[in-house]
């Protein structure tokens, strides 16, 4: 069958939506420095998006550290290489698990909250009301939330890694009786500030940008119905989780070739 008018119209609106999404992303990112001029609005968001996700991230980090140490202690013991436990845990956490898992948890806890909050503001005409008061909702509502989220994610990732290392210490040193000097000393010697810590932070900044952009976009463009808001939150988790995993592969390939 030939292309019908409906097909053309649909692909045209699809294309327009794609373009509008990128324009929206551009605006939100461009507004980042300006939103820092009203620090109170951003701090509020760092608190509600970041601080309130700390217990979740801390809990997850602790157990990831505990399990990693348990598994590695046995396996490394077979080769007489338990001394490398500290570095392996630290490098894995800093490079991979910290940024990735905390971004995934963040999208589930805070990303959904962000999308549903903005979606509900749209549904209850709060965004229209703001426009009518000559206040740009992207500047007043979206930009501070985005900025707060982007600031929060790397901090969460660092907290995750830190608590994960403490978890590994609990198992290896306190439970299994590993000599603490070996655990910390080896870690100290093998972990590189630039290669491991900074690259991990860069990763989580990229994840933070992606997850928060997806969340505010989904919320801002949500249909003004209960179903529309529900769909926006679901899409936020699904798309941002996949985005984090895909970006992680790209960044890893780029950052850690041969190290």
């Amino acid at each position: 069958m030939a292309l019908s008018k409906a097909h053309i119209r649909r692909s045209r609106t699809g294309l327009a939506a794609f373009g509008a999404a990128w324009l929206f992303f551009g605006r939100v990112v461009a507004l980042f420095p300006r939103s820092l001029l009203r620090p109170l609005l951003v701090v509020e968001q760092v608190y509600s998006l970041g601080s309130r996700t700390v217990p979740l991230v801390g809990f997850a980090g602790l157990f990831v550290g505990l399990v990693m140490a348990l598994q590695l202690y046995g396996v490394l013991g077979r080769f007489g290489a338990t001394a490398t436990l500290g570095p392996i845990v630290a490098i894995t956490l800093l490079r991979e698990l910290g940024p990735v898992i905390s971004a995934l948890l963040y999208s589930g806890r805070a990303g959904t909250a962000l999308a549903s909050e903005i979606g509900l503001m749209r549904a209850t005409e709060q965004l229209s009301a703001m426009e009518m008061m000559a206040v740009d909702p992207v500047r007043r509502i979206v930009a501070p939330r985005f900025a707060g989220g982007v600031i929060a994610v790397p901090i969460l990732a660092s907290i995750f890694s830190l608590i994960g290392m403490l978890g590994a210490w609990l198992v290896a040193v306190r439970m299994m009786g590993m000599y603490p000097g070996v655990f910390w000393g080896q870690m100290h010697q093998s972990v590189s500030f630039w290669d491991d810590f900074v690259n991990g932070i860069i990763k989580s900044v990229v994840f933070g940008l992606a997850v928060n952009l997806i969340a505010v976009y989904e919320g801002f463009t949500a249909l003004s119905t209960a179903d529309g808001v529900a769909r926006a939150t679901t899409r936020t988790v699904v798309i941002s989780s996949l985005a984090v995993l895909a970006l992680d592969f790209l960044l890893t390939a780029f950052m850690f070739q041969g190290t």
């Binding site: 503001m121 009301a129 009518m132």
Partner: protein, 273 residues
Amino acid sequence: MKEPSSEQEPAIRIRDLVFERGDRAVFEHVDIDIARDRITAIMGPSGTGKTTLLRLITGQLNPNSGDIRVDGLPVQSLRGNELYALRMRMGMLFQNGALLTDLNVFENVAFPLREHTDLSEPLIRTLVLMKLQAVGLRGAAELMPAELSGGMARRVALARAMVMDPEFIFYDEPFTGLDPISLGAIVRLIRRLNRTLGLTTVIVSHDVDIVEHIADVTYLISEGKVVAHGTPDELKENRSKWVQQFMSGLADGPVPFHYPGSDYRNQLLGESG
């Protein structure tokens, strides 16, 4: 029907407005004049796009074609800042109030002042309390929007719409879902604000009885066209069957009670067989 008067330039002038949503034409070549300092009502059955009309006038939507001028300014060709400058002169009351749910009543009313002015805190306080006093809710300043009844929320929203001292005010279904006392309060407020401040007022509503009382001019819209317009008395005397049906609230008439569908008998028989 008399021609729109050309002696005084209307505050809002709509010419040849066409607006389509998908394949459906919401407005087909609509002309409307909204007089300065008067109360103009836009009436019509639910779903005729009355709210859409307000969004077109305030530049939240763009028409497919036609010309909308507010105080001589072509709304659709204004750029971002110019449009916002025009909107600072407008107030709008949304159907459900549309208060910001994370701010209390006082902060909601203060919101436009904080966003647009550098007024000192004591001055903002005074202005906000004056507006809240005018709508009778000074005592509710510390409440959150979730703690307000529908009527109270609408009055707070009215105080917020008034806080920048606009020249134009738009009411979207202000009478829907209110108890008689709240309704009386809102009607009195709308009239008083119009009379004392000389506000150019546009009310979108389908409440015939109330609109008859307070509107200076009424436009009746149906199926994308202006069916009739004039003063309440002129409309009452209008011979058109449609106008009669709408103004006296008859269930059946030119506007059928039944939504168009296939033949009733055939459908019932067809489905069982």
